[in-house]
Symmetry: C2
Amino acid sequence: MPTSPEQVLIVSGSQQGLDLVGKALIDPGSKVLVESPTYLGALQAFAQFEPKFAALPADAEGLAVDAIDAPALRDARFAYVMPTFQNPTGLTLPAGRRAALAALAREHDLWLVEDDPYGELWYRSAPPPSLRAYAPERTIRLGSLSKVLAPGLRLGFLIAPADVIDVLVRIKQATDLHTSTLTQRAATHVLASGLLKTHLPHVRALYADRCAVMLDALRTGFPTDVRWTEPDGGMFIWVELPPSLDAGTLLPLAIERKVAFVPGEPFCASAPERNHVRLSFVTVAPERIREGVQILGALLREFKS
Amino acid sequence: MPTSPEQVLIVSGSQQGLDLVGKALIDPGSKVLVESPTYLGALQAFAQFEPKFAALPADAEGLAVDAIDAPALRDARFAYVMPTFQNPTGLTLPAGRRAALAALAREHDLWLVEDDPYGELWYRSAPPPSLRAYAPERTIRLGSLSKVLAPGLRLGFLIAPADVIDVLVRIKQATDLHTSTLTQRAATHVLASGLLKTHLPHVRALYADRCAVMLDALRTGFPTDVRWTEPDGGMFIWVELPPSLDAGTLLPLAIERKVAFVPGEPFCASAPERNHVRLSFVTVAPERIREGVQILGALLREFKS
């Protein structure tokens, strides 16, 4: 049962939601549980308040809920989780793991901060129910218009029990008074017009196609000892290079050849994974994706030899 | 000489500028110098980072720069000052005091956070040069479109030496990535159109008239032992009631009679002034101003007898 009815707070992009949550819940030295890797902007937002990050266990399907030790949860202020088309891995937490995580949160009075900017960008079928659906009284859920409408609007929303919202509203008032009413008006107009309903299927089809093209290009263009995730939605593929390769060293060489990627290291709160790379496929045309992957593959082969 | 060239950072309303400055410069227990009374939203923004506020000396002309003791400045992270048409007093710091404050800041390596949302709302003549004009290398200046264009845009700006801006840009990125490009576009369009140049004289004349009406109504409608400031611009008159009266007690009685004011207490970082009231004259028509002041005056007389 919810501790209080849920309410919605409009925020200046879901990045601001992370900042407000950090202000509310983190003191210097507080334990904050995160996936590893996780969204680097969340690490940056929370780091402002000087927590100690602790990485949750993971496997090929993402967060390994069954492997979480109860002592690891003790005194944790919250667990920050992106269960759907995660940034940077592209992985989606299966329904069973979501239910198990929700049960764990209930049992240990743990707050779940569920970040879901990509959930609408599914390619085959809608993702499993949100963490909020399983444990509304323990979940602070963040959503965004940035990936489905326009990032420049800076409009996100936060759904949480009313007593949590009360606290966050006071913090937001001290932080920036309120979110622009002009952008809220514009978004209300667009949402009421139904544009999103006709727009989203096009976006999903476009991204699904580009994702398939990149996966195909990786299979044909990358060395056989490189692995990668196969996302069902979102914007990213997470690539694991052989342990001897350092993505940070490769980046300037790739940029010389006009191909960019994001090295995996800043996505890790601890134990940096230097042999990982985040690839994004959403803003580039299919032929350019093929070309870019081929160039990267050639670079990897050169570097190894 | 500036330590580095100055730069501008666009912020999501100048309230966000205060939040970013607080994040950058305040640690728990840091000394922050403020006027007393001062803008309560600044106290709220800074209080998030748990400083110790120290009140600067004041007299009838505002900040009493000559009365500032050098030891009071020691270890202060910054002095927060609203030198023009101050909120809540409406007072404007004379040019001589600005120069003296700038000299003090230089001598003691003190940062001045100059908040100037009301400077364009002058009634007789433009206010003295900004603190920034006197000590650009020691000043973080905040401006806003909220009082001259539209508060709902949430657009403000911060001018500071480039090395300060570098720090604040990184903090802003972790806080909300960036300010809405839609609202920045809209404001750019309005500013480029010259609308502000034709609009401001009307606003100045409107507010000057309403201020004069309220001052006249105070002279005829308020008891003779009540004092108030006579602003040359801005939005507020600061009223000092006899020491025996408590503005917080009067407020619900005034609201019953359909008149609202803001009690002075929350504008004071320490030593709350319970017998002060902030009146605003800008959104109400002249005849309503006269009526409201008359009702408040009658209430004051009843309460004293």
